[in-house]
Symmetry: C2
Subunit: 333 residues, 2 copies
């Protein structure tokens, strides 16, 4: 198996990406195609003694702040677009990128396409939860959704948790503002009814308070709400740690306590850092595509490559196609 | 001035509410009408030596889990409904309740009514921010909004921050998934245009990450998103503190650090607890109504009573009516 890795994406540049690929190559067996500028990649690669990291040249780079669709259309020789094309042409079986998320979705849509019957591919993010394992989707690809879209998100998330994460009968929750089925806005009230009739393990509405408790394996929402939830969590986490630091500075005793507690704080922070969890799959894309947080370190890249390999081996794409057929997708092949 | 206080609302019962009223009476001069069951209130009141706490009998109580509108219609002799009626009849100038939030909004709408020209009253919650002062609205009263509603929320929030909180020219932000004006869903893209034309101090889109940084004084969103944001923050806060406790338990040194840091942690927690901030105004209600978190302690009740008094003295209701006229409300009186 070959995995195309956007070697130019991410906040920390090619060095971190290549280190992640090298870490991956130590434990797994697929070949990683490092897509990017050979002049920058070759010196980095020379440190590692492996023939399972191969450079594929791409002369352009899509920056984090570029307009996703425009950048993908314009920079046809960017590491991201070349990576997506490698998958379309069968040269690679999966795409991994820590670059511009919107651009990764755009490149995947444009060059890899949708699974027949899936109207809206979605970004699914693993959520750090108290116990168990959970993903939330969509977190940004689709800002205006219809109830049918949420049903498809649920089906795709369920398939992912079954096939790639090995959870036999994943529970599904609908992110909402009350526990009863009658609660919510127009979208969630109707989506609730569809989910109730789905025959899946639907656990009903999940309130914001329970997003991080892991009550369900798959949590469904529209991309606007999902994006806000993730970013609120990120911002609040940072604020809490900053507040704690300030509070520790107030007295000598608390300061001493803070010093002793530093490692514990650090571990707590890491437990809540979703880059640790191995990347976010773009579900509904016709092939395997995994995106990573821009601030991914080499461990996160290694984990994302492993998830990509697992997803290909588990036949994720075909399972999602079957789910789409079950849901009555129009163009099911 | 008289303030009607729902003495039966809140998770901790009348004892906490009466203690809050007594704490208020020590520093401020308005009379508090304690609305509720005299048999329970009289023994509690006998501890306090003040004639500015007066019991107004109400035989029924609306529970936290009752259906808001049904409960308000059925229990016409509940502490909440009697309190709202006192305001309508001019016996009190403001209503404060820590009971069922939905029921408080329903009672206020039904018995106090809307400010002419305001289509949708909203719940505005003070947000703990790193620096400055901020409210977010709506946080649950209106789950399906039109752009015009968000504009009205902004106008009401702005008026509240000016008149009651003394901020001369409050900044307004629109909660959204990107910083550019073109970002967002149908609702926020259109609301952005309205806010840009408002002539107010519009600071543009605010992403989820910045909700707790206090970049703007007034943060506007629909009630579905606002409710999710608040509850995600609540849940994540609890999870973080639990995680930290666990991490502190891992090693002896961290444990010792945790002990020393305990007070700092406690202070950090309190800084982020929005019950400290004195209740959430129902903006657009024809009169002053303040709701408190169900888990409010006596300090929170005291603070909410103070906010209610400030809002009445500042002429909040009339200022919001003027804002509605400016916004071209149809029935502006």
């Amino acid at each position: 198996m070959k995995i195309a890795l956007d070697a130019m994406g991410g906040d920390f540049g090619p060095k971190t990406i290549v280190a992640g690929a090298a870490a991956y190559a130590q434990t797994r067996t697929s070949t990683v195609l490092l897509v990017g500028d050979p002049n920058r990649l070759e010196p980095l690669l020379s440190q590692y003694n492996t023939d399972r990291l191969v450079i594929v040249p791409a002369r352009q780079t899509i920056e984090m702040d570029e307009h996703p669709v425009q950048a993908v259309r314009k920079k046809t020789n960017s590491s991201l677009v070349v990576g997506a094309r490698l998958v379309r042409e069968g040269e690679a079986q999966a795409l991994v990128s820590a670059g511009n998320t919107g651009a990764a979705m755009a490149a995947a849509l444009l060059y890899m396409g949708r699974v027949p019957g899936i109207e809206r591919p979605a970004i699914a993010v693993p959520v750090p939860v108290v116990s168990g394992e959970a993903i939330i989707l969509d977190v940004g690809a689709n800002v205006d959704c219809r109830p049918q879209h949420l049903l498809q998100f649920a089906g795709m998330g369920r398939t992912y948790m079954q096939k790639v994460r090995g959870i036999a009968n994943p529970t599904i929750g609908l992110l909402n503002i009350g526990s009863e089925g009658s609660k919510g806005n127009e979208l969630t009230v109707k989506a609730y009814q569809l989910l109730e009739q789905s025959g899946w393990n639907f656990a009903g509405n999940i309130e914001g308070r329970e997003v991080f408790s892991g009550q369900t394996n798959v949590l469904v929402c529209d991309g606007f709400v999902g994006n806000i939830v993730l970013k609120v969590a990120e911002g609040l986490g940072m604020m809490l740690f900053d507040t704690m630091k300030e509070e520790f500075a107030v007295s000598k005793i608390a300061q001493f306590g803070g010093l002793l507690a530093k490692q514990a704080l650090h571990r707590a922070k890491r437990r809540l850092d979703y880059t640790e969890y191995g990347g976010a799959p773009l579900l509904g894309i016709d092939g395997v595509a995994i995106i990573c947080h821009g601030s991914s370190n080499s461990i996160a890249i290694r984990n994302a490559l492993s998830v990509a390999e697992d997803a290909v081996q588990a036949g994720l794409r075909d399972s999602i196609a079957s789910t789409a057929v079950r849901l009555g997708g129009e163009n099911s092949d």
